[in-house]
């Protein structure tokens, strides 16, 4: 029964190969972006977990502190309890040949560590020579195979690494990380140095200190006894606490990426819908013939379902393959951004998770079938005799416009509800965006229709119809062909509006960030010690501050010390504290701020003088806007911080604008900070000068006096600003890539729509030729039509994009990161959007226009059934 139906359709696709290409391209691109982002997000989390597991080994718990732990705590622990415990140092070092390798340096005690790492014995080889060398010889370490390959090292070679305390020469005793299959690229060992604890302490600058104490405890009672015994600065946490902290840190960023990938899929679905609609419109007469000859509607339905299922599966499989390749490209971008914004991980492996693949396959196939559903239903259920008539399709399109406008209104109301309802959280914000984009997309064809009709009437009124016949025809053709171009214009509008929205949001963010940094960095110089890698805060001596204050050109100094701790709006019991159930981990800063430095902080409301007065009193602090939003805290309310194993409360004197941390910051006066965290050193100094011209001389003087001993980094506010903006630009690279992909999909949509029109107008072309239209005029007609479609789509996309920018800043950014960003509209962005829409339409119409004239003059096209 299906034999000739399949054959006829197969030949149809052979004659219209570009339709297959566009259909597969739409599915492939949408699925590829989804797969890539999902794999990258999953891999980033897995890499965090693996890096954590490398420290953890088989430990069930670990003792941690706000900063490092004194070594004596381990000795005392072993003295008091019969417990399986091991000291650990965790730090980072960079290669010294600029290959960009960031090593995780794990310091262990090899004697006790075998209880935590059963595989450790394999590294010592057959004899115990390596073991003794590791223990006894200076600077001997175990190095992972893949790093050794990059550095062209073999076992026994020497190499140099950069730490926060300068360059250190190491001896690669043995290479680790060979998997059971013999592969030397086991990601669990990527960029890893295992050193004896003494050497690791030297590399990390943690003499007499430990990063953690690993424990294996199964007895809950013993665990509680140890908890009670621990000094206030230390507590016990489980591996899941660590994972939760890293997940919380990056959740908003990863969710934003996922949403962008969904946008690419949505635009891809537009393309699929467009292509399927056109292919069915074009095949309608043929399918009608089969119906007339006696093939039932069920047969046609079954065939079409099989056809689209086949395309869905093929496109999705292609999408998965391309997605994996894209994920490899995006992995470094995402890792870099996570490292810039949150925390560095030495493992950069891309994990191909079967779950991600299955997820993408389901999303791709279901999404494609969903996009095909409407045109399929229309084609399969249309009465045989009417499917032949184009006029029926146009009438149905006009009816659809009415429904579209009604649906738009409902969606706009939903967008307003979800954007103003804070309880909806980040997901509610994204629903608002989806409703807004869908509503405005649905409005696009009716908007084009109304605009073209208005334009046509205006021309009529001016009496210019006869003067500009081609323009008049182009206007009429634009709205006459909306059944073909409607979907493409919707996809183009969404893509351009998204580009406008993102551009406005990013440029507003950039301006706000620059303003904020210029205000915040109001000292002339900032002094800290050099940080080659992440590590513990390095102390700046008081003598340095005293000497600086004695310099005649120095007016005053500000000083800062930092600690990360848990914070909550609710007062917490000891039990809750021990289980790390507080709301979020934030950066707490202890600062001495002179009067000159007060202007660096802009408050949301209230008199700054009153705020600063309160801030200097015990029990008060100021918090960043993001923290206030995350905790839903207002001025004069109380926040609770975890200080060791205790909870300490402070009242909020003021809330200040801050774009430095999306998890939030709290600022205490140094005196208050010191009473709670006495061991945290001052690690940064701001210097206020009477004359900025004195900067070079003072830098020279400080470097001569302290530079060598302390390895100081003295940097001007201007340089920090430039560095920060560089990181900012890097952060948005991935967003740019995803936006570009969305625009490519939309461009393909417009191209397919114009190809559709071109194919349909073969017979009309002959008529126009007969009427005296030459090739140039025919091309002009097609280009004018494209120009009109692009201009109208672009015109609509600008206000839609502007509203989207508002949703992105005032809803998404506020809910995800807790900071508010004033919107800045640059006319450049708006012009660029319009030009982008025009360029996309014109480019997409060049090939069809060229084909239109070629086929018209060279080939005698067959008669049209209509």
């Amino acid at each position: 029964m299906y034999h000739y139906l399949v054959r006829a359709n197969r030949r149809y696709y052979q004659q219209h190969r570009w339709q297959i290409v566009l259909l597969l391209f739409g599915i492939m691109l949408g699925v590829a972006v989804i797969v890539a982002i999902d794999l990258v997000n999953e891999s980033a989390q897995t890499n965090f977990r693996l890096a954590n597991e490398r420290i953890q080994g088989k430990a069930t718990h670990r003792i941690v502190g706000e900063t490092s732990l004194p070594e004596v705590l381990y000795v005392d622990l072993k003295k008091h309890f019969d417990v399986i415990a091991a000291p650990v140092i965790n730090s980072y070092a960079k290669d010294n040949v600029d290959l960009g390798i960031l090593f995780q340096v794990i310091g262990i005690d090899p004697i006790v560590e075998t209880r935590f790492r059963a595989n450790l014995s394999q590294f010592w080889g057959d004899s115990n020579t390596h073991f003794s060398s590791f223990m006894l010889s200076e600077n001997s370490i175990l190095l992972d195979h893949s790093s050794a390959e990059k550095l062209k090292l073999k076992a026994g070679d020497q190499f140099s690494v950069l730490t926060n305390h300068g360059a250190v020469q190491l001896h690669a005793l043995s290479l680790i990380g060979t998997s059971e299959t013999g592969s030397t690229d086991d990601p669990r060992y990527q960029q890893l140095i295992i050193a004896d604890i003494g050497l690791a302490q030297k590399l990390a600058g943690l003499s007499g200190k430990l990063s953690y104490i690993n424990l294996v405890i199964v007895d809950e009672q013993q665990l509680q006894t140890i908890r009670d015994w621990l000094p206030p600065y230390a507590w016990i946490e489980t591996p899941s606490d660590q994972q939760k902290a890293s997940e919380q840190l990056t959740r908003a960023f990863q969710l934003n990426l996922s949403m962008l990938s969904l946008l690419a899929l949505a635009v891809g679905l537009f393309l699929i819908y467009n292509t399927v609609s056109f292919s069915l419109l074009q095949r309608a007469p043929m399918l009608a013939q089969f119906r007339i000859l006696g093939l039932s509607a069920t047969h046609i339905r079954n065939y079409l379902l099989m056809e689209y299922a086949l395309f869905s599966v093929l496109g999705t499989l292609l999408g998965v393959l391309v997605g994996v390749a894209l994920a490899h490209l995006l992995m470094s971008l995402v890792t870099q951004t996570l490292s810039d914004l949150y925390v560095a991980t030495p493992i950069h492996h891309l994990w191909i998770s079967p779950l991600s693949i299955v997820k993408a396959l389901s999303v791709g196939i279901m999404g494609c079938l969903f996009a095909c559903w409407l045109p399929y239903r229309r084609a399969a259920n249309a009465p045989a005799i009417r499917t032949q008539q184009r006029v029926e399709q146009e009438i149905s399109t006009k009816k659809t416009h009415r429904v579209q406008l009604q649906t738009s209104c409902t969606l706009i109301i939903s967008a307003l509800v979800f954007s103003s309802w804070n309880g909806g959280g980040l997901l509610g914000g994204y629903i608002a965006i989806a409703c807004w984009l869908l509503a405005t997309a649905l409005m696009t064809p009716p908007f084009i229709l109304a605009s073209c009709q208005a334009l046509g009437q205006r021309l009529l009124k001016w009496g210019s119809e006869g003067v500009y016949p081609i323009l008049t025809m182009a206007i009429r053709d634009t709205y006459r062909n909306l059944s073909r171009t409607g979907m493409a214009s919707m996809a183009l509008m969404v893509a351009i509006a998204t580009a406008v929205g993102m551009n406005v949001m990013i440029s507003s963010f950039r301006i706000s960030l620059e303003d904020w940094l210029s205000q915040r960095l109001n000292a002339d110089l900032y002094i800290s010690r050099v940080y080659e890698t992440q590590g513990e805060a390095r102390k700046l001596p008081m003598t340095l501050m005293d000497e600086l204050l004695n310099q005649p050109e120095v007016i005053s100094l500000s000083s800062f010390r930092y600690i990360n701790t848990w914070v909550s709006k609710q007062a917490l019991s000891k039990q809750t504290l021990s289980k790390q159930m507080m709301e979020r981990k934030v950066s707490v800063i202890g600062a001495d701020i002179p009067t000159e430095g007060e202007s660096a902080y802009q408050f949301l409301s209230a008199d700054p003088a009153v705020i600063w007065k309160k801030w200097r009193s015990p029990g008060w602090l100021i918090i960043s806007e993001s923290l206030a939003n995350h905790l839903d805290i207002a001025r004069n309310e109380t926040v609770h911080f975890k200080v060791g194993q205790q909870s300490t409360s402070f009242k909020v004197a003021g809330i200040y604008f801050d774009y430095g941390s999306d998890s939030g910051r709290a600022l205490l006066s140094n005196n208050v900070f010191e009473t709670h965290w006495p061991t945290v050193p001052i690690s940064q100094i701001g210097v206020y000068l009477d004359n900025p011209n004195n900067q070079p001389a003072l830098i020279d003087q400080i470097q001569k006096r302290w530079g060598h001993a302390l390895n100081l980094r003295i940097i001007s506010a201007r340089e920090i600003l430039a560095l920060s903006l560089e990181i900012f630009e890097r952060t948005f690279t991935i967003t740019d890539v995803l936006r570009l992909l969305a625009i490519i999909v939309a461009f393909s949509g417009v191209l397919s729509a114009f190809m559709a029109i071109q194919l349909e107008r073969q017979s009309e072309l002959r008529v126009l030729n007969a009427l005296g239209f030459n090739r140039r005029e025919l091309i002009t007609l097609m280009l004018l039509q494209a120009l009109l479609l692009g201009a109208l789509t672009g015109l609509l996309a600008v206000p839609v994009g502007a509203a989207l920018a508002w949703l992105l800043t005032d809803v998404i950014n506020l809910r995800a990161f807790g900071w508010s960003i004033p919107l800045y509209f640059s006319s450049n962005i708006l012009w660029q959007a319009l030009l982008l829409a025009l360029a996309a339409s014109i480019l997409a119409s060049i090939y069809p226009a060229w084909k239109l004239t070629r086929s018209g003059s060279e080939r005698n096209a067959p008669a049209v059934i209509e």
Partner: protein, 214 residues
């Protein structure tokens, strides 16, 4: 389209020409008989061989499709051949739909009999208008339907080709004893028909033997 008091009956093997101006309801009547369109009121009774009377208006979509597949052959003004099937495939299509695969040779024989043996593997767009309409006639006849419906079959052909096609159509239907209903503007065809039916705005104004109609 509204038909008023339209009551006609056509005998097996009869050739009937339906005359009328554009919009008089000629095509609608053929579509209704073929089950391509449905009537809100009235009856269209068909008596198949060895079977009782069937009212097409009582059939559902599926039944109408099965009825059309078995009993109807349709010829259009614009040929309506499937552009992506070859000539022979187009003609074999009704045989395949009726599961008469063993009689596939009939298609080629029929095409040869109308002088298209050289075109079997060509695609419709490679043929002239007259050739395309001859293929369409073969497709309509190949499964030996009881009723042949032709809607302006010569409307897009020149006079010479139109005459050839009409001759072919009438000779084939006579040869196979099929009933032919042919909608046309062309009064020259009247002498060829057994009877003539004239429609005007959905009403039957004449239904007579051709000699009377003239």
């Amino acid at each position: 389209m509204v038909f008023k008091h339209l009551d006609i009956s056509v005998e097996r093997g009869e050739t009937v020409i339906i005359l009328g101006q554009s919009g008089s309801g000629k095509s609608t009547l053929l579509n209704l008989i073929a089950g391509l369109d449905t009537a809100e009121e009235g009856e269209i009774i068909f008596q198949a061989e060895h079977s009782c009377h069937i009212n097409i208006c009582d059939m559902n979509e599926q039944q109408r499709t099965a009825f059309r597949r078995r009993h109807i052959g349709f010829i259009f003004q614009f040929f309506n051949l499937i552009p992506t099937l070859t000539v022979t495939e187009n003609v074999r299509l009704p045989l395949q739909l009726n599961k008469q695969l063993k009689e596939a040779h009939l298609a080629d024989e029929l095409l040869s009999s109308v002088g298209l043996a050289h075109c079997l593997h060509k695609f419709p767009e490679q043929l002239s208008g007259g050739e395309q309409q001859r293929v369409a006639i073969c497709r309509a006849l190949v499964h030996q339907p009881t009723l042949l419906l032709a809607d302006e079959p010569t409307g897009s052909l020149d006079n010479k080709t139109a005459t050839e096609v009409i001759k072919l159509l009438f000779s084939q239907t006579h040869e196979h004893g099929q009933t032919l209903l042919l909608a046309t503007h062309n009064h020259d065809l009247i002498p060829l028909a057994d009877r003539v039916l004239t429609l005007q705005q959905g009403s039957l104004v004449q239904f007579k033997a051709h000699s009377t109609a003239i």
